[in-house]
Structure formats: C-alpha cells, structure tokens
Symmetry: D2
C-alpha cells in the first residue's frame, strides 16, 4: 500500500536522525537556549539576508499560528484570512480560543488579493459603528495555500504595500514553504519574505524534519517578550535543541531546498502524467499538492494499492482527490500510480 | 564540565533513537491515529490495570496541563494547587490564559493535604458571597513535587476521598512520575493513580524520551471530545507516531522503571554521600532532585567543573542548590562530584 | 428634529421612572437578591407558563449574549448564527473574546432555516477531520431579526426539532422580542419560546425600560452556576433591584405588550403610508424596523427635520434607510414624516 | 429594620432621579455619544485639572476593572494587587477570565507599599527563568481599600514613582473614591490621581448614583481603541446618556463631595461613639466602612433591628462586623444604633 494522503506520513530525513543520534549525549540548557538553536537561528537569518530578524523554533503549525496571533493582536483586533486558510478551517477555533475573530475573505484558489484586503479595511473604518466590529489588524495567508497555489512576487508586494498603508501586520504561514519556493512558478525567496512580512514561518514538519516550524519576526513590536508567549501557550519545548538540530540540518548544505525540489519534481511529473492521460484538475497547482478529478470507479479500483484523500465530490461519477508528494516520496511510487491509473482507464 | 541542572539536558535513551530510525520510513496517518500510538496506549492501559482509561500523548508538560484544565473546567471554576505547583509558578500564566484562577495553598515541602483542600472548599461554600469567588473544582498536585517530595499512599487516598466528597476533579502531574515510583519511599504504582485520580500524566521528557507526556483519563466526562481540545491548544502533533513509538519503548520491557531506578539510585548515592560529609539539605527529598545547602565559596570553586541551579539563598554564607540526576547521569559524575566536594571541604 | 435612528433614543416609560422614585429609599440587598427581582422573575415565569425556568436580569444585550454563550459551551464548541446576527456583526468579537467561533450561515432576510442547521451539523460529523473543526453546539437566532423579520411558529418548531435531534442548545435573542410578538404576522407567544428554546432573552432596553434584558433558561445544565458567570463577566448589577423594578412594571398590567403594540401600530402605519406613496422596501418587515428605499435627494431634503440610519446604498440614486419606531414614538412624528415625504415627492 | 450592610442598598440621590425624569424624552444617540456624556466628561476633566485625560462611563465596577485590565495588558502580563483587592477576591476570577494572573501581595490593612512592588518586580527580572513567569506590568490598588483604609499622598507618590521606574501601569480603583476624599485623613484630590495614575475610576454606584463608574485615562497607549474593548466586554450601555446624566449631577454643584462628606461625617460619629463605649476595632478605618468587634450576644440581640455583615470571627465570644454608612444613611440610624449598643452593653 502506498500513501499519498499527506506530506507528513514518514519520519525525517536520515541525516536529521543521524544528527540527533550524534548529539544525543551532549548536555545543553533547555528551552532553546542552546548552541544548536543559536546556530540554526543564525542559518535562518542568513537565508533571510537579515541580521535583525528574530527566529524562534516551535514544534507545530497550529501552535505557531496561535502563538504569533496572540502575541500580535490586542483583544479587539481580528485577523483577515482567506476562507480556506488553515486558521479559519482546520485549527478547531484555536484563534478564537485566544480571543480573536478570523475575518474570512472568499477565495476560489486559496489566495486573497490586496484589493480584497483594502476593501475590507476601508469598509471597517468608514462604518459609523466601527467600534462595534472587531478591528482588522493582521493579514494571514499561506505560501503555498491549502490548495497548493502560490502568490506571485507582484501579488505579495501589493499585499505588503496595502498592509503598510493600513498599518496591518502581515503574517505568512509557510508550513509548506519549501514546496512553494521549489515550484517552477515561484519568483520569490526567503529573503523576500523577510523583507515584506512582519512575521512568517518556515515549516519543517512537512519538509523533512520530524517536526518543527521556524518563526521569523521582522516587526520589532512583535519581537518583544515573544518567548513569554511561547511558554504560556505551551509551545516551549524542554529539549529545545531538538528543534535547533533539525533546522541546522535543513539549512546547512541546502538540504531544505534539495528535499523541496525532490517533492516538486515528482509532483510535476505526476501532474504532467495525469494531464497526458486527459485527467482534469480541480485547481492548477504548481506545488506538491495535486487535485486531479478522478472517476469514482477508478478510485475504487485503486484503493487497495494507493491511498489519498477524497477532497471534493464533483458529481455522481467523479471526485476530486488530493495527492501529496513529499521529500520522502519515491519516484517509483509516482510512476507506479500513473501506470495504475493508465491501466484502469484503459480497462474501460 | 558536568551539568546537574535539570533532568532534560540530554536527548533520549538510545533504544528510542534506534526505534525512531527503524520506523522512519513507515507511512502512518497523522495526529496519533496510528498503530504505534494505539499500542503505546494499550501498554499504558495495562500499566494502569484498567481497560477503560483514555490515553493521549502530548509533547510537553505545560501543554498537557493547560489542555487538561481547559477541558475540565467551566469558566467560573478554579484549580487548587500548592503554591509551588508548576501551574502556579512556572507556566507564564498558562492556566489564567485559558481563563482559570489557580487557587494556591501554602506548603513548605511542595505537598498539600486533604485537610487544606477540605478547608478551602468548605470556606467557599459557606461564604455568603460564594458566587463572587471562583468555584474550586479541581485539585492539581505533582508526584513527585517540584521539591522532590512524594505523597504517601495514605495521603493520596485521603486527598482522593476529599475530592470525591466535594465533587472535585483530581489531577496528578506526573512529569517526573518515574522518579517518584522508583523512590525508596514510594508505596504506590501506576494502577493506584489510575484508580484514584480523574486524570494524571506520565512524563516521558524527563525519563528517557526526547519529549512526550501521556495523559491518562479515568473521568468519563473529561474523556469526551478531548482530542478537539488538544488540537485547539496546539498540542496535536502532526507525526503523532513519534509519541507512540517513544512510549512503546518506555512501556515495553520495563524501560521506564529501569531508567527511573537508575536516576534514583544515583540520587540516593549522592544524598548519602553529602550527608556523610555533613552537608545539610533544604528539604529531605527521596527522589532525583536533591537540595543540599552548600557554602558559597565551595560553589564558586566547583563552578568550572560542575553546574547546578542555585535554588535559594540561605544567608550570606550558604546557598541551597538543586542537583538533578536523571536516566542519563553517569555514576562517575556523581562520585566525581562527591569527591570534589569532599576535597573542597577539606581545603578549609 | 425628529429621530427614527433606533429604538433606544429616549429614557423609559414614565411608569418605570415613577416606580424607581417610589422605591428609591427602600433598602434591599444587592446583586438581584431582592424582592423586586424575585417578583419580576415570578411574573416572567408566569408569562412563560413555566414554574421551572430560571430567570436572570442583566443590563445589556451584548453582555447577555456573551454570558449565555460562555456559560453554555465548552472551549471547542461553536455557535451557529445567521451572518447578520448581532453576535456575528455588532459585538466587537465578544463571543470570540470568550473563546468561541461564530459559525455563520448565509441569509438574505436575517433568518436561518432548520435545513441549513442540519446541513452544517451533518457536514461536521461526516468530516473525517471533525476534531480539527470547532464542534457546532448552539444555535443563535434573533426574534425579530436585525432586519425586522420574524420566524413563524412552524419555522421555530422545525429549528427546535433539529436542535434536539443534534443535541444543540437553542438560544433566541429577544432584544426586540416585544416588537416581534406584537407583529400582525406573529403566531407565537412567550410560553412557546419557553417551551422550545433552551434559553432566550426578553429585551427591556428597546421596549420601554431604561435598560435590562431578562434571560430565561429552561435547560437544566445551563441553569447551574449561572450567577457565577454573570458576576465574572461583569454583568451583575450592584443595585440589581433596578432591573427587578423595571421588569415588574413591564410584566404587570400588560405594559410590555401595550408598549410593543404602540410601536408596531405606528410602524405599520408608516409601512402602509410609504407603500401608498409607491416607495419600495429593501425587505418586507412586519415589525418596528422598516427599510424603505428612498431617493438620495429626498433624504438630503429631509435631513434637517428627520434623522434615520442609512442602511445600504442601492445605486447612485437611491439608498435603503432604517426607520425605527418604538414605545416612545409619537403618532404625529410618523404622520409628519409621511407628509414630508409626500410633499418632497410631489415637488419633483 | 435598618441596614448598614453595604453602601449600595438604596437607589439614587433624588436630584439624579429628577434629572432622569426631566430628560426622559430627549432623543439622543446611543452608546455614550450624546451631549450629557460629553458634558459629564468635561466636568470630570475639570475635576482632574487635565484637559487631556480620556473619560469613559461604565455601569459597574467589575466591568470597569476587567475592561481596563484587558485593554492594558498583553497576554503574558500580570497585574499586582493586594491580597484583599477586589479583583483578587470578589470578582469570580474576572481578570483570569480575560487571561491575566493577579499577582497578590500580602497586606494586613488592605494597602500595599512601593517597597513590596519594587521587590516583586525586581525579583521577576532577576529570575533566570523570568520568561516562565507572568511579567508584572500593572499595579492595581483601591482608594479607599476594601478595609476602609486610605493611602497618604506620600505613599501614592512613592508607588507612582516605582511604577514609572519599572514601566508599570498604575490603576487606582475608586469604587468608593468619594468616601476616601472626604476622609479627615485624606490629603489628595482627584487632580492628584489624574497626575499620578495611568488610569483610575470614580465610583458613582456607592456615592449617590443608581449605577456608574467613570474611567479616567491619562496613559495615551491605553486611550487608543478603548471603546472597542468596552463594547467587546459588554460594557457599552445602549442608553449611555443615563451615565452622563448621573455624572453631570454628581459633578456639578459639588454633589459628589457633599454626599461623600455626609457619609463620612456619620461614619466618624459612629466610630467615635463606639470608641467611647470601649468597643475595639479590627482596623482603624478613616472612611465609611467601620469594622468594630462586637460580642456575639450583642449582635444576636440587635439582629431584629439592625443588620450588618459579619466580617471575621475573632474568637468564640466576639466577631468583627462591617458597618457601612453612605450618602443615604440617616443620622438617626447612627444615633439609634449607638444607643442600642449602649443599652445592650449596660444590660450585662
């Protein structure tokens, strides 16, 4: 059985496991106050081309999101998110649980625009009852989005500009950042994010680490006292070095990019192969999540050999599925799947 | 340089690292819905001698505490804790941040008594303004305590009885549970906790795991929807199997007890050695944290070779320090420290 | 200048002021533990035809909503509301601030249907990632709605049935309840609400009181400890009798119905008059809020004599406005306004 | 039966009721955006001798406290309070419910000192684990305290100085402010508070109003967006003018001082009378709350004629009680009580 259900189905890249073993009996102080975290932060700052950003390492994505948002907003402020944003749809109300409304904007491809943000904020300030409405203060978006799409440099610049115009904090969730940067359509790099966001994350969990998200903060106000908030929200790992060691591995010798490229290369191979077979897609994704629309009968016939998520029922005959590649996906898994689909299609 | 500062200065027992490596390319579903978590939970239930307890695995202690307490209490309810309790003093207000007052009881040894609990709850219900005061609804205590002490079976039975009398939820924080159970003074086991608590934790972080706390729930009301709360608070690990694998290792072949015994054996050796040297203690601890009172000059002279926390300044001449042993402490570290102290004392 | 901007522009019905004066030097215990609150609660229970409902009096609507919802839900649970619901749009995120997501349903007339609720809840429980999504546990709706519309008995029965099927708490916000009950289209009474809701409110602020909302609770679980939550949220009025006295006035001698009928009678007169003048409406409201669509020039020409809220810009020429009548509106104000509009229309 | 149980047992000063009646049919905009609130704020600013303070009017004290504290603190910050502070002991965890720890300092007379504050804050910043502890950021104290005592000008200056040194927000709860200012021992005025606090309240509820607290803000950061927070916490009164009208009455023609002086004059008469009878006091209070220690038998014999709170059981024979005078207390009530006690004492 081969699983394409998500990009967090295996452990970690072997180099990471090896490094954990090599450092296992080092004695270090807890709570990320150790040389590994220090060096990892330094490597991330280098990738950001900024000596001034603050870098923190947390275990998970929901934890990172709620910690950042709780640290950034006053009680009456809300965060703007695409309707499909992770904080909007898949964190069990974590943001509301720390007191903030998620202001959702409609989207068909997982992305939002500077114009939508501008309109929402302008409407707020022109409403005579504005004090009866949460004040929009932050923009949250994902790169890539939950639908695998990515923003262009121009789109992000426009969003960054509108955020500065309205004094909004721009927060980019990079849980799958590597897979966005490795996309053939990508035209940004980490230093672009460091220059244009107030805060963003670099996801490790889905890109070769056992776990771990780096939070990069450019906004000075948000830097202040951030570690208190990490601790309060339960995100301060006792053996923090485990995060440092993993990000050291990922950000030295280019491993993060290498693993990302691997996954994207296979995703593009899959996309091309499916396209060649005449399979339509729910959305044109340039990253590691692909959403082909398959006949239900075909899905049924594959189910003992290949597993993936059923994403959206299109009609009585067809379902859009999500197929994820990752740093750990084997090329033969992809070619095998393509061959199996081809065979199934030929049978009918 | 040898560190005795805490029991989380190294990585994990090698058997755990090895198991992580062996299972690294298994593909499993996320969020602890995998065979390793299932088997680990089954091993924990066996140790509890209860097929009915719910078992969840979380990464850290503060996270576990805030998740349990948030899940258990209605907004107006408070949790009773010793003044020195971890939730009271070292979680940056995590419990208040999820809305609840921590009702502290004075303690000199880190423990609280059934009588103290009874008095506090009785005072609440006899106050004519009781609705103006948070309603005490949960008792939190640690086994062992932050001062290394442990409750006797009789003390815990009395507390459990008073909790049932007043319809209080009893929550035992077992971040260092193994070190309590391995103490020569211990007279309980895990099945005793499972029978007498509504919920308790079994700490892995400090007892040989990279990270991880098992939350064991006996109270049916608290079992309901618990995973929603884990997710909301940011505690649901994507690659949940990492927790399962570690607890499998710890709870098969008795590894948890073995590692705990090792730390306690060295702690007792240290305690006896210091006693023989005429060193007094801040508190008589039967577990892996020892609090000897040392001359400041001696501490100064050791500081390039041995590190430990300065716990409490006693007077101008002496300071109580905390020396922790752990599963990873080497016997020669303890004998070396004892010898160094002996030599220093002899020099004066 | 005559204002139709809202139904809370004047003080209170004179009988209420008189009663406050008469009772002014009575000495009573605070926090609603006085004979006036007791008698008022008894009158409300009588109107509910239920000796078993709990009745509490709070000062304001947002306060009542956040207190009820905070008391009712566990942290991971959400409340379903029409997109236009007061808790969704006009309480500055008060519900999120006590930790809960507001799950909005689309609506064109301010109402939601049993089918919508059923679909949302069914979708939740059939989602394989349901634990990653807040659990819908309560339905909030207003009677009348923010758009002046009311639910029929059949619609409410259907909603109540679906709530019981899915174990949802049904909460009806009656900030303008009197104006709903007095509507010519109304086919329910207070006892119907008491029988079909878990909790509902009876608004005093907009129907003749200086301030005050009665919260009526049928659900036993929600009754428990409710006063603690009132106090914690800042809603326990020191001189609670002020609320009791006002609700005594409103619920003896039928004053609440009388004042409501007055406002509705004038609203219907206004609606008929505008209809006769050929004025269209944004929505067909049978209660005290009317939403005629007026030419901008006409609004401009009236603005020194008549004030009302601009609700929605329809096009370059016309704007929907909100005109509220209330217990305090004078008949000559309505006839004057109609005459003025007629004159303006004739001028063109 | 005559009640001395609290200072909120009657309605309001008749001039306030009369003014409410006179203005009853004025039409004004809601939410304190009306001429009465504007004029009241102006009168308060004049009393503060500061044109720059922001003034808001809320209904109650707990509401005011939780709104101010929620507006002022970031999530990881705590508020320092005397152990006996209202926010610490009598608000059902309202401060914790908005996420903040109340850091209590021991006190025997209800007051705290600059030295205590300095020590607590210094300890925080010198703790190597300071990020694991809520950051003290605000000082809360009451003038007068819950025990009737007041701070001297010198004490408040010292506290203000220490707050500025440590960048702490100083918040003075003036629920009974008038009674403090009218005390023979008082040496400050409102303008002193406006100059030395970041924020303070002027209580109306206990000093002649039906209800109402004025919040006075000097700190610019705290002024920003304060009305959003009021609305979110349920404290924005729809008919806000009711607060404005009452504070207009209280702050024109010196009514606030006059009513306060009345209560204090009677309290001092009571205190002197009891002292003359040889009655000891729990505490030497110079304000309207007096805490005499009475024989239980005497209390028993008075109980059908005079009511007051039993405050603290001293021993088997005697109980400290709380006797409150207020703006509404009649002189004959005090002389009657003194006479009754004298008679009772003489009978034995």
């Amino acid at each position: 059985m081969i699983y394409f259900n998500s990009d967090y189905m295996e452990g970690a890249h072997p180099r990471i496991l090896q490094r954990l073993a090599e450092t296992n009996f080092e004695q270090t102080m807890g709570y990320s106050e150790d040389p590994h975290c220090e060096r990892a932060a330094s490597l991330v700052r280098k990738a950001c081309a900024s000596p001034d950003v603050a870098v923190h390492f947390l275990v998970g994505g929901t934890q990172s999101n709620l910690t950042v948002i709780s640290a950034a907003l006053r009680p009456h402020q809300s965060v703007i998110s695409p309707q499909t944003g992770h904080i909007s749809e898949h964190e069990t109300g974590a943001i509301e649980a720390v007191g903030h409304k998620v202001n959702t904007l409609p989207t068909s491809d997982g992305k939002i625009t500077a114009e939508q943000i501008d309109a929402l904020v302008t409407a707020h300030w022109s409403d005579p009852s504005f004090e009866h409405i949460p004040q929009p203060k932050m923009v949250y978006l994902s790169y890539p989005t939950e639908l695998g799409t990515i923003y262009s440099k121009a789109e992000l610049e426009a969003i960054s500009t509108i955020c500065r115009k309205h004094d909004l904090i721009l927060f980019v969730d990079g849980a799958r950042l590597g897979y966005g940067l490795a996309s053939p359509e990508n035209d940004i790099d980490i230093s672009f994010l460091a220059a244009h966001c107030d805060v963003f994350t670099i996801g490790g969990t889905k890109v070769g680490a056992l776990f771990g998200e780096a939070i990069v903060i450019r906004n000075d106000a948000l830097k202040k006292d951030f570690r208190y908030i990490i601790k309060q929200k339960g995100g301060m790992l006792a053996k923090g070095r485990l995060l440092g060691i993993q990000f050291e591995c990922l950000f030295e010798d280019n491993l993060y990019a290498e693993l990302s490229n691997h996954a994207i290369s296979l995703a593009m191979q899959l996309k091309q192969g499916l396209t060649n077979l005449g399979i339509p897609f729910l959305i044109d994704s340039p990253t590691n999540q692909q959403f082909p629309i398959l006949p239900n009968a075909l899905i049924e016939n594959l189910k003992d050999r290949y597993s993936f998520s059923q994403w959206k029922r299109m009609d009585n005959e067809r379902t859009a599925v999500r197929i994820c590649t990752s740093w750990a996906t084997k090329e033969e898994a992809v070619t095998g799947l393509l061959q199996a689909i081809k065979t199934e299609l030929a049978r009918n």
